[in-house]
């Protein structure tokens, strides 16, 4: 039998936060991060910040635009995030909702 996973409990106990689709938009899994700093180089908003243990953390997940630059370029795949094609734009959202075929960026 599979027990229901209590995410809050897990987050409390484990080393890292587990992003669920509803609340946390993006996070760096500390145990995998090698501190290379690529994410900080590509993020246009400077969200990944170096912490005392030489690893990176997203400072303010609410400011993320989900462009996936950090996730694509992380050499160890330490970044977990929800990714979607396109960018934050009304017409893009309309395209996705009404036409159901991708984004207006292409």
């Amino acid at each position: 039998m599979i027990e229901k996973i209590n995410i809050k409990q897990l987050e409390k106990n484990s080393c890292c936060s587990i992003p669920s689709l509803n609340n946390i938009r993006i996070s760096i899994i500390t145990s995998i991060c090698i501190g290379c700093g690529v994410c900080a180089e590509v993020c246009p908003f400077g969200l990944p910040q170096k912490k005392a243990n030489n690893k990176y953390r997203i400072s303010d997940p609410a400011l993320c635009t989900e462009c996936s630059a950090c996730k694509r370029n992380c050499p160890v795949g330490a970044i977990s995030m929800f990714e979607q094609k396109g960018c934050g734009c009304l017409w893009d959202a309309r395209q996705r909702i009404t036409k159901k075929n991708g984004s207006c960026c292409s």
């Binding site: 938009r25 635009t65 950090c70 959202a93 207006c104």
Partner: protein
Amino acid sequence: MNYDLRIMAVTYMKKLEEEPETYEQEFTNLTKGINLEINDWIIDRINNDNSIFEIGCGPGTLAARIAKQKGKNVIAIDKNFQMINYAMANYPSDIAGKLLYQIGSFNNLTVFHSSQDLVISTFMLSELRPLEQQIFLRNVWKILKKGGRLIIATEFMPLGIWKIGFSLRRWRYKKKIRRYRLKNTQLNKYFFNYLNPIGFKITDKKTWKHNSIQVIELVKFNNEGKEEPGYYQPKMKKYKGILSQFRIFRCIFTGQIDRVPIEPGIYQSGNPTRKSPIIVTANYDFTYIKVMRDLKDIDVWVLVIDTNGINVWCAARGNDFGNQQVLEAIEATGVQNYTKNELLLLPQLSAGGVSMPNLSKKSKNFPFKAKYGPIWSKYIPEYLKNKPVQKPANMKLAKFNIFHRTRAFITHTTFLLRKVFFYPIIASLIIFLVVFPWFNKLYWVIDFILWIITSNLIISFLFPLSNFTRKFILKGLVFGIITIIILGGTFWILQKPFAYILLNTPMIFWISFFSTMSFSGYSMSTSPREIQEEYGLFTKVNKILLVISVISSLISILLI
């Protein structure tokens, strides 16, 4: 008309290709039999060729005819497996293994180098983008024997006066294609420029319908005695002076709507040598001019990749600037032969599409050390000079300052006027001029246009005021109120009738609210998911506001 059918042919090719049984017949109908004449022309030309290779064979009609009538060995490939299945099912019985059908693409031809006498490709070239056409020609060159031939049938821009009608129809079809979200076909604009540098000579050709359909016979030759096909390099495109300034203005005014592609390939800034690094950028005209100007003639190679005439950020988020495009550009241009410097500097904003760890993994001989450069091209010279391991904040953080917002204001307002408010404005003009000739009410239309422009001006200039929230609906409400206060005050000073101001308040509010929502794409302050969550509420609020504002504005027009 022939142009119609030519464009339709390629437009609907994708649809036809889904049904191999009817493909040949439908395609013949579309070209009014020209494809059959082309097949005859090609078969007449086959004499001493023993090994023949066809790329893009479709249902295999031509390949089967060659094998049957001429008794030659034919290998025919197509990337569409339905087509190959159909061709196999209709394999002619009496040709005893002379014909081989395979799934394959021009990217990776599965025969030995210098093994074929003749390569044929009909009506495939216009589905390839400029860089793909160059790769196609180079790959064909490699598999041809010395003095081997390539016969290509494809569509071109017609000659002289026929261009006008052609361009108009193409413009119409382009809009249609975009609506269906189909890939656009390419005009073979530069095709003839590629031939000589890569190593082909035209020996014969026949044209139909004012040059809009052509079949061309090419012969391979060795450029400067080399055993490799050459590379094509586009001519330098101007980026200084008044004309390129006009090209910049054109891009600012049509930004959200038009793609303005330039020819992809290698360009030069200054006098690059074999020690100069490579700067990668998108083939949007605005991007090209900006990057070239910002480089200030320092010596670098500029690799312009094919992003369909879209800027770096949008292309990266829309699958037009990714690993595939970068690798394709490297393969087609042979940029590694220009320089010994291993630095390949990608724009920082392309990171949303490019995945660097995969770049070197996917291509076996990736000869470069790829790096993300500064976020604004104006920092490239400084970046190349200092080569910082970690970029300083100003080189990597996106800003949305007053200069960007001014440009965004122009682009966004022209977008709204062209795409959203165009028909309402035309409709109200018709009503006031033709249906009910109320010439004295025309001022309302002028007011309406002025409201659109001023509310967008207010949004762009005061945008940081709304930074307290990321919800664009809330921002819209804030700017709606600000616009009402500013415009209402102006009308008060201008001593307009009070009822007119009051009755048009909902319209002004709606314009401002709607424009703020539409402005979201410029601001970099929302994400796809956030705006998508807001979309449902937005459409409801939008509808209610629109109904109220139209009714009350109508009353104001009728009363005052």
